[in-house]
Symmetry: D2
């Protein structure tokens, strides 16, 4: 089960939850809430909608129609599918129920671009999304325009129910923006001819390591509140409810592990030493032949990695990324440390501002930590594997209703990641946000922070 399936199940469940909640409670804070005071709700919501949708279109700018066909593994989806599916969400959950007189763009799209489950109807098999040469890209772009036009009409008179659903739809689209980038990066990595799409973006070499030994920051821990309740801000069901945990004292490294440090691990035969690995991890290393993070390759004396568009020299001061949980865990053991729990991370992040290297920076890779003292890179740069399996919070309950079947469905065999990446839109993030992947997956921007 890949990443996207999971998101949709949560969204749709949330959609019902929120919709229902909004009838009983005060309007839920939305992504639109940061817009300047004085602008009307409809203006800000529409502006927000147009802004997120435009961001998606900006991401495909370097890609051809042929690139947007690529599906390199079942975990990933073609760009074209992401473009259509995010649009399908607005058509299905906003325009069809709420915009009177709305005509669906094409009935077949219900089947083709539904990532949802049996109860909502048949859907195109996920591993065959790469076979959808039709509809053509031009048709998908027309579909986007058609739905955007409908949304403009609808958002002229939004209700609080519509606002809730649009908010979810926009978060949904932002997450697909991240997946769109990681999926196309993986696909292009398999074509020796495909890179350097944006020749202008030639990076300076950075194969030198000037980083100091990092500090560890001490936290006293104790009884603490983690998670959130839905009426405080937008949040997914798996972040709820807010509840008490006891956290023993701990220390966190001030920054993420760097590429330079990872090279030391490799030079110390980290990938060859079974003593460092979890049993399942060692089996995976053997089976997959892993010898370095995903996308690394050696070019003579120099190590290279890649962005979504180019091969670039490895920046030894930048955070390592594209590693599995197993690799993160083995590295921490090698260093005599461990991964943090998700609550240690959340405890440390509660007071932090949400600043960092996000999608908006355009960097396309994690960047070296700034030289300032204190905890850095909590948000952005790369997702941080925690040692916490993805399981329900105490009091997590399955909501009633048609979409209840999806509640918590992914709470087995996956691990929590925290903090966001350079491919995450800033406004998606918050200290309580729980991302989750299987321990062997590495095509996301995944890194680690040491704990003791």
């Amino acid at each position: 089960m890949g990443r996207q399936g999971k998101f949709h199940r949560l969204w749709f469940m949330s959609l019902l939850l929120q919709t229902d909640a909004s009838r009983r409670r005060k309007p839920m804070p939305s992504v639109a809430s940061s817009v300047a005071e004085g602008s009307s709700l409809e203006q800000t919501l529409l502006a927000q909608y147009m802004s997120v949708r435009a961001q998606t279109m900006a991401l495909i700018e370097p890609l051809s129609a042929e690139d947007m066909m690529l599906q390199s593994m079942p975990d990933a989806s073609p760009t074209k599918w992401h473009l259509a599916h995010t649009t399908w969400f607005f058509e299905t959950f906003l325009l069809q129920p709420h915009l009177s007189g709305y005509q669906p763009f094409n009935e077949a799209y219900q089947y083709l671009f539904n990532s949802y489950y049996e109860t909502v109807g048949e859907r195109h098999p996920r591993p065959q999304r790469g076979l959808l040469s039709r509809p053509l890209l031009t048709e998908i772009l027309d579909y986007r325009a058609h739905v955007d036009a409908g949304m403009q009409r609808l958002l002229a008179t939004p209700t609080s129910e519509i606002e809730s659903a649009v908010t979810i739809g926009l978060h949904h689209e932002m997450q697909h923006q991240e997946l769109l980038q990681t999926d196309i990066k993986h696909a292009l990595s398999l074509n020796p001819y495909a890179l350097n799409l944006d020749a202008a973006a030639s990076p300076e070499a950075a194969n030198s390591d000037t980083q100091q030994s990092p500090e560890f920051i001490y936290f006293a821990g104790g009884l603490s509140q983690v998670g959130t309740d839905a009426n405080e801000c937008f949040a997914y069901d798996c972040e709820q409810p807010r509840h008490q945990v006891f956290i023993p004292e701990f220390s966190l490294c001030e920054r993420l592990v760097t590429n330079g440090e990872w090279l030391e691990f490799m030079q110390d035969n980290g990938y060859q030493n079974p003593q460092l690995w979890l049993s399942d991890g060692w089996a995976t290393v053997q089976q997959e032949g892993w010898q370095a993070p995903l996308y690394w390759h050696r070019d003579g004396e120099k190590w290279m990695t890649m962005t979504q568009q180019n091969r670039v020299p490895l920046d030894l001061n930048a955070p390592v990324c594209h590693i599995s949980y197993y690799e993160a865990d083995a590295f921490a053991r090698w260093r005599g440390c461990r991964l943090p729990t998700e609550f240690e991370w959340e405890f440390a992040a509660q007071a932090a501002e949400i600043n960092g290297n996000f999608l908006e920076s355009g960097h396309l890779l994690p960047q070296a930590a700034p030289p300032q003292p204190g905890l850095k890179q909590l948000f952005g740069d790369a997702w941080e594997w925690t040692q916490s399996p993805f399981i329900p919070y105490p009091g997590f309950t399955t909501p009633e209703g048609a979409l209840a079947e999806y509640n918590g469905k992914f709470m087995a065999n996956q691990w929590v990641l925290r903090g966001g990446s350079c491919a995450t839109a800033k406004q998606q993030l918050r200290a309580t946000y729980r991302n989750f992947f299987y321990a062997h997956q590495r095509w996301q921007f995944t890194s680690l922070r040491l704990a003791k």
Copy 2:
């Protein structure tokens, strides 16, 4: 990775740990400690040794040499291998280092019956253990006698270091007693001709359900200590250290879920309804074609199951067993409940006496709960799946030393089970004991208790 590999890694690590600890501390309480006062240490330890070894021999009584060859899946091992491997442990860790003049029975056995890892040398590939027609069973029995004779000499003058190692060896053998039973049960289940080994043991039919709706017992929870420290009693590393957790209020069902209740789940199409299942669980159900617990089959109107030796009618009042984590989780969801966490279970069990239906009862299957009020079946009958993944306790550290590589190696993708089964020796168990298996495995005696 099956069950036995895991145990060995922990044993051996513990062996070093305990051995080391015993030099610095007062003698560790042992399995021998329950022996009547007045008997000397050497008598009690030797008596204990002979008793556990004799228990193993009693288990093979109904089996032929040909039965003891069977290996029906990589997760399981042949009976003959269990007999030899537990003996190898005493030869390798007690007789060779500590009994002067000891001659190994056969050099080749080091390779054949080592379940250990690369650092200790090559070992026979696990999935090919069923191909070991040689050494013959008679040779293995000679091996046991040879080692038992050596142990009798050694235990004439035990040191505290020897006592620690023997204690571990006996716990090791007791766990293999359980595996020996579950492995042979699985193998014989695949031979239509093999069962009814013990024709005398014909059980009365029990296909009627007289059980009342069970009560739920309320617990206030709060800050609580869980786990143990090594100097208190014998315990494995993964139970350590004792530490504080915050447990919200909860309720536990007074008894395990019964076969009768499981039939209701099946009749309500529990195995056909994707809304009840975790995503990975639903995929497993589809792939494996599960429609009932392992070993159930229908004989006309009557449901049958099996013991290690016979087909028997299903007792509707007895606890369901041989279910996966996925099935336990789906059943709990169907009932509007959930599985307990491992700490809820431990919190409730801390005050309980260790009584129940264990190996010693000879029942070979879980039994209906007695009609008394209050929490029942906490220990024995069947292992209880918890909703807690098997991960390290705060402060768990990798010990130094040659065997350090195995520390915590299995702490990924497995789930904690608590309480023991009808195939567990009573003295193995304690409230802090953590057993663990993968979510899809069902050949152990596994059941569930509902929580709210």
Copy 3:
């Protein structure tokens, strides 16, 4: 091992053979030899070249750049790859060695579009051809134009050596024309939205069966010559040498088995009756769930099939196609007949004219046999499975030279097919031509003729 690999190995070997032979012998008859007398060699060869190349371009007319990316299975290749690879052949074997001053279009194409083997250098992995979004289609079309321009210069002064190589290159491209069609047909069949590319080509319904019981034609057999020698006409190495075989008397059905007859087989539970099938065939039927030929599906009362571009009603009088060897063999057994040997077919075809429903007809599917008496449909419509495995002729020898490694490499586990199909260019065919595929493959236009 798919179809294309095989062809290339044979071509290239033949290239060397022919080239060498042409130095010692009279000029080899070429595809150009049918051109009207009076035109000079250079004119006819160039005209032939331009004609074949134009035919390829005509085939892609209904396809988009996105369609031309599709690779639906390892056996198949994307259209774009076919376009580039056939061009690579002329660049590598004609322009680079023979056209002075020729500049390769792009060095990377040597790697990307080489289907060849280790000795000629690395090549892009076959199953990942569908990931080649780059080079873009527009670049491939430029590549074709660049090579065509070079070829025009080269063919202004052809030598006999060049003529030989061009002849092979054109046969090579013609075979890729067939593969291009069968590969894209397979890919589009998996997209519920993709068909009806050419809406104008709406066929009339043809679900009625007016065919009479067919006649069988008797042949006396006897000692006969089969195969060919290279100096007689263009032929591949596997058709050589001409040699004597003894053929017992036999009878051949006058026409191919029809769709109507195949429906009778299905209605008589042909796909459910293990007695009709080869052991390997029955295993394949079970594993693949075959219940009808490839591309058949039921639309209410009516059976449908598909062309490269459209879903169409099944013509019950037309030959069945897209069946495996196993299905052909089972059908023949069901009818109390058998498949012909390749030499029976060749014996019968030696006197026949090469007329029929070829690529040039534009029919895209086999057509009902005309009502005339005598053997029909020997050439064109659909390839005929024979009961002859693809093995070397007596006296077949591995040629010396750099490409010798590929000689006969595919002569194991494949079966000979004879006669060509509606996707074969007419001038590819001759009575001695041996096509070959694995017994389970069915995406080519494959059919059968009964023998007794």
Copy 4:
């Protein structure tokens, strides 16, 4: 599909055929026909029966009940199963239909020891034969005695129908004698501890090569009769009918390829050079990691191989064996030769006496050819791979009747081997005998003879 399934299908079909034929024709020559004149039919047939059955029992003499449980791959069966299944044949096809008052030994054996197909009823799944610890060996031996006693009664008054069926049953059992040996050899090869069962049989070292370059014998070929008709001698359906073929002139090597010659092939990197291999063969070499024939391993400077019971030094003058078709083909290509066709072999063998190194010799391995001139080792020592796929002879027809479904079922993707091996009973063999296996299989005693 392994070897045994195939045999049974043919036997049973033949049983019907022969039975039917024997009613209309003169008594079929039987295995009993070589018995001294003057003895009555019943004496000779019974003597023959007892002799073959005793030979089977002699083969298990070195084995324990535990050894006889082993099944090391789906292609192979446990010894215990062979013992029971051959007995089941006589019970099912002789005693039940022909001996009045016969009581089956055990109803369950019909299911457990039937290798047959759906029409005769359910059977135990082939890959799980190794799980049949029950019935115990002692029960199987009782079964053999029970059936032997019945057969003695039946053969007191044999009819020609009974004689036919017994003849088939005895050929059936003789073939299982060969399989029993090759299956147990494979199983014991996987246990490092199991060999040297018969320590007395210590062979002299033979790692020196004194062989001369072998001669090739020329044959003029021409029109020739091959195969046989059923009324001439006992023969399987696939050897029938006798028919005419044209064989071009050819030469055969006087002896089989030796181990010494095979070492030269290995030293010349034969296993590393893709140019020598069929495409499917090269894929198999890569996938399986083949670097030498099966059972070869290096012990310091010396190459070792194994018999059914011991590891022994490789005799460089003895024929290579345990090679696949792919290896035989690659070796022949390396030597500039080819494999013979099955008809070349039969043409050369028609005049030869059936002498050689058979099961009766007790050698357990092929032996060096004697120094006499002329064709040697045609029969015995090791089966010779031919370049002929296993396909039907012209005029081969599916017989009518209940067992007709099995006719020719294995005539796809397998290759003909000729001549028998050191594990074949002499009286099984004749010049027309066609054995057949898949190209990748090497656990039989398989070798090659070069042809030109």
